[in-house]
């Protein structure tokens, strides 16, 4: 198991290298001159040229990339072109908020989505099932910014019980969490339902019913556990999406998260910030993927055996065979 984890961590190194190369190349070939954007329309050509030289933008692609890589290896992500603050400091300022929001939203989605999916599956074609699935469909199709604005209109403007924007206390989290998790809840509920439906038709479920096992244990112990793999996958994906993709919500609720930060940086051609941000998100994705894989093993013993040594695997195969 430990060997598997170490191997996976080593594998992320080329992945991260690839990510930096890709994002560096993309930014390098994008139109727009950071020096001109910093200095504005009123600056003369000479001033822009001097700043370009200062920022190292006149170096060749290879030079720029190697310099950047050397910096990253030394733990230096560069400084923001716009504010002059180290990129790592700026990212640290925002990553906490992003992780907190993503975690809360995903937990909320799991707590609502999985039970909803289970109920739908168990009571297939009932009114509850139909309503849940219609709501889930709504959740997936409803544009995120629209839902966010409607929440604000209803709870802040109309009822005036929740603050409209910012993140200055517990109350402030309610609307962003609901808004970010809407799609996740729907996706998780739908995945839980279809996965559960597949499982509860299987023979072993019928067997346990026949032997008189209580329905609760059948559903939660026997069925859900076997239905969990695709659900975990979906939860992982949704969590990952909310880490970098909550831009719209961050905009509507004026939350200083990582997503909006990166979009602003792209607009300003603030290369160090874009590269640093993408790198950090890539690292988070890798860790998340690893955690999900480990969770698979935890849930499903069959997968766990794959992670173990091949000799051990052989032994198990022999025993089974």
């Amino acid at each position: 198991m430990l060997k598997f984890v170490i191997k996976r961590i080593l594998v992320t190194i080329p992945v991260l290298l690839g990510v930096t190369l890709l994002i560096f190349t993309m930014m390098y070939f994008t139109n727009g001159d950071p020096a001109r954007l910093i200095l504005g329309d009123e600056a003369t050509e000479i001033e822009v040229e001097v700043l370009r030289e200062d920022l190292g933008l006149n170096d060749s692609f290879l030079e720029q990339y190697t310099n950047y890589l050397i910096g990253v290896i030394k733990g230096n992500l560069g400084t923001s072109y716009v504010t002059g603050i180290p990129v790592s400091v700026e990212i640290m300022d925002r990553i906490g908020i992003t992780i907190r929001l993503a975690t809360l939203s995903t937990l909320f989605a799991v707590v609502i989505g999985i039970p909803a999916g289970i109920i739908s599956a168990v009571k297939q074609y009932s009114a509850v099932d139909n309503i849940t699935m219609i709501l889930a469909l709504l959740g997936i199709t409803m544009p995120n910014f629209w839902l966010a604005l409607m929440l604000v209109l209803f709870f802040s403007v109309f009822l005036n019980i929740l603050p409209a924007s910012g993140l200055y206390g517990p109350l402030y989290y309610i609307m962003p969490v609901i808004s970010i998790s809407a799609v996740s809840i729907a996706t998780i509920a739908r995945m839980t339902r279809s996965s559960m439906l597949e499982v509860i038709r299987q023979d072993y479920i019928r067997t346990s019913r026949a032997k008189g096992q209580t329905e609760f244990i059948i559903i939660f112990k026997h069925a859900l556990k076997n239905a969990l793999i695709p659900i975990i996958t979906v939860i992982g994906i949704q969590f990952a999406i909310s880490l970098g993709g909550a831009v719209v919500n961050e905009q509507v609720f004026a939350i200083p998260g990582l997503g909006k930060f990166m979009v602003d940086a792209i607009k300003a051609r603030n290369y160090p910030v874009v590269q640093g941000g993408v790198l950090v998100i890539a690292i988070m994705f890798s860790i998340l993927n690893l955690l999900i894989d480990l969770l698979y093993a935890f849930v499903d013993p069959r997968i766990k055996t794959q992670y173990q040594k091949s000799s051990k695997k052989l032994k198990i195969a022999k025993e089974e065979g």
């Binding site: 994008t30 139109n31 727009g32 001159d33 001109r36 954007l37 200095l39 504005g40 329309d41 009123e42 600056a43 003369t44 050509e45 001033e47 822009v48 716009v82 504010t83 002059g84 603050i85 700026e90 300022d93 925002r94 809360l104 937990l107 909320f108 707590v111 604000v152 209109l153 802040s156 403007v157 009822l159 005036n160 019980i161 929740l162 603050p163 409209a164 924007s165 910012g166 993140l167 200055y168 206390g169 517990p170 109350l171 402030y172 989290y173 309610i174 969490v177 939660f220 112990k221 556990k225 905009q251 509507v252 609720f253 004026a254 200083p256 909006k260 607009k267 300003a268 051609r269 013993p301």
Partner: protein
């Protein structure tokens, strides 16, 4: 194994429930309660939210919402009006302009023009910086010299002789100009001429100083939460009258609807830069006040005069004749703008009504035929996603189509647009540059021949008139020069003036004393709670 799994699931649920109760347990209860009790509850709970709802007597904090985050608060490091707005609380200028348009003493007690290029300022001797050190002529000389060389302010201060502007004694400043420069007093009275601390800026470094400035204003900087807010508190050692508030917070709320909702719900006291679509709601709401007026900037359609076919005056004029400006301004600005009758707004010195060009599609067709485009013409129009520029493109496209001009709209992002514009590659675009100070020289700042933007008229006569205007101190003579320039520009149709848009910000009903600022930088120190 199974037990472990159930335990994990359970703990997940518990974490969720706990975080929910931590985050919003009271919110959950509240939804079921009547609005009165929630009102009081939110007062005791969310301090950021409550005090704006409370009575004005106890009000000591001002919260205002900006539409973008400035990169720096040092006005020689950026040109964002959002940074200037915050800056009006922290920094101060040598002189100010009162409501009658007269220049009044501020950090400078008195001043005297020795000759056309020399001004002597006597400074107050009781002014200290937020770090306790004294404000001296040395700081003033440093600030003005910086203004002259910074690429962010040199359009206004380039006439200052940065080497010979110096402190004569501790509180006497000699300001030297390289050449006579009529807008100098206007520039010094605007926020762009605010004073910095030489010692603090030099020891901290310009970037760090811009993120935590030390100056002489009534409020001192306390905290900047990147992407979220900038906080200030009253400076105890302030030389002048204390402000009506002892704490101020500038929140960054980029989304314009979110900004106006925060204002309506009392989350902020002032919301800057309201979108046209929100004006009516703010005006009708009994709790909020809309403060609107004519902004300093004007919009125009840029034509690249060094590019085919716009180097032909007949084509430029045809394009102008083909525009029904009345409909265009009505559609795009939703009635919140007037048709531009010249190259800058009427309230700035020397404005002369020279247009607008009449709407005459027949004449446009004739001129195009004369220029050799009887069979039509295809041009590229550049724009980026913007609530004003995008619709202007669509309207212009349909209007020009009627005289046989096919417009291909190229939507790029702002960074690409800026780059192309400054490399002379934009053919046609709608633009609305911000005018730094209420002076014709600044209002005409797209016209100098050295500018890198795509207008590329290369007309020395324009430059000569601009030079003459900026070096003439007598207002009547100056106005004459600019009148001639406006006539000349109109006769050449180097661009097509479109609109003088209005702008607005909203305040809560209990905010008084705040006047509309055409520069978009209202003087927040004037606020009184009612």
């Amino acid at each position: 194994m199974m037990k472990k799994w159930i335990a994990t699931m359970l703990s997940l649920v518990i974490v969720m429930v706990l975080s929910l109760t931590a985050c919003g347990g009271k919110g959950g209860q509240k939804e079921g309660q009547d609005s009165q009790s929630t009102g009081t509850e939110s007062k005791t709970e969310g301090e950021t939210r409550s005090d704006t709802v409370s009575t004005p007597e106890g009000k000591t904090a001002l919260k205002f919402a900006l539409d973008a985050e400035p990169a720096s608060l040092d006005h020689y490091m950026h040109t964002k009006q959002q940074g200037f707005t915050v800056g009006t609380l922290i920094f101060e200028t040598l002189i100010k302009k009162d409501t009658n348009g007269e220049y009044i003493p501020w950090l400078a007690k008195e001043w005297e023009f020795v000759d056309d290029t020399t001004i002597i300022f006597k400074l107050r001797d009781d002014v200290t910086f937020h770090d306790g050190s004294k404000f001296t002529a040395e700081d003033a000389a440093y600030s003005l010299a910086l203004g002259a060389i910074s690429s962010f302010s040199k359009t206004i201060f380039s006439s200052i002789d940065s080497e010979n502007t110096k402190a004569i004694d501790e509180f006497t400043l000699e300001l030297k100009l390289l050449n006579p420069y009529a807008p100098i007093m206007e520039a010094l009275a605007s926020f762009r001429g605010a004073m910095l601390s030489k010692n603090a800026r030099e020891t901290m470094g310009e970037e760090a100083y811009g993120r935590a400035p030390i100056a002489t204003g009534p409020m001192k900087f306390t905290e900047w939460v990147s992407g979220d807010r900038i906080e200030m508190e009253a400076y105890e050692g302030y030389w002048g009258e204390k402000l009506a508030f002892s704490k101020a917070t500038a929140r960054i709320i980029v989304e314009s609807s979110a900004r106006s909702i925060e204002l309506e719900t009392g989350g902020v006291d002032i919301a800057m830069e309201l979108a046209f679509s929100d004006w009516e709601r703010i005006e009708e709401n009994p709790d909020t006040v809309l403060i609107s007026g004519e902004s300093q900037s004007s919009t125009f359609i840029l034509l690249n005069n060094s590019m085919e076919p716009f180097n032909d005056i007949r084509v430029r004029q045809a394009l102008a004749y083909a525009l029904d400006l009345e409909s265009l301004v009505d559609i795009v600005f939703q009635g919140q703008a007037t048709i531009a009758d010249s190259y800058y707004i009427p309230s700035i010195l020397g404005h002369k009504t020279v247009g607008p060009m009449e709407y005459n599609p027949e004449k446009a067709k004739e001129l195009l035929a004369e220029a050799g485009y009887a069979d039509g013409l295809t041009i590229d129009y550049y724009t980026y996603e913007n609530p004003i520029h995008s619709p202007v493109g669509e309207v212009v496209q349909s209007m020009w189509a009627q005289v046989g001009v096919t417009v291909e709209i190229k939507t790029v992002d702002l960074a690409t647009m800026t780059d192309m514009n400054n490399n002379g590659l934009v053919s046609v675009a709608h633009m609305s540059p911000t005018v730094a100070i209420a002076d014709p020289d600044a209002a005409l700042m797209i016209w100098p021949t050295w500018r890198t933007i795509s207008i590329k008229h290369n007309d020395q006569h324009v430059q000569d008139l601009l030079d003459a205007g900026r070096s003439t101190y007598d207002d009547a003579n100056r106005a004459e020069i600019y009148g001639e320039l406006q006539d000349y520009l109109f006769s050449k149709t180097y661009n097509i003036p479109i609109a003088f848009p209005k702008a607005a910000f909203g305040t809560r009903g209990n905010i008084g004393g705040l006047a509309f600022a055409p520069s978009f930088v209202p003087d927040l120190t004037q606020i009184k709670f009612q």
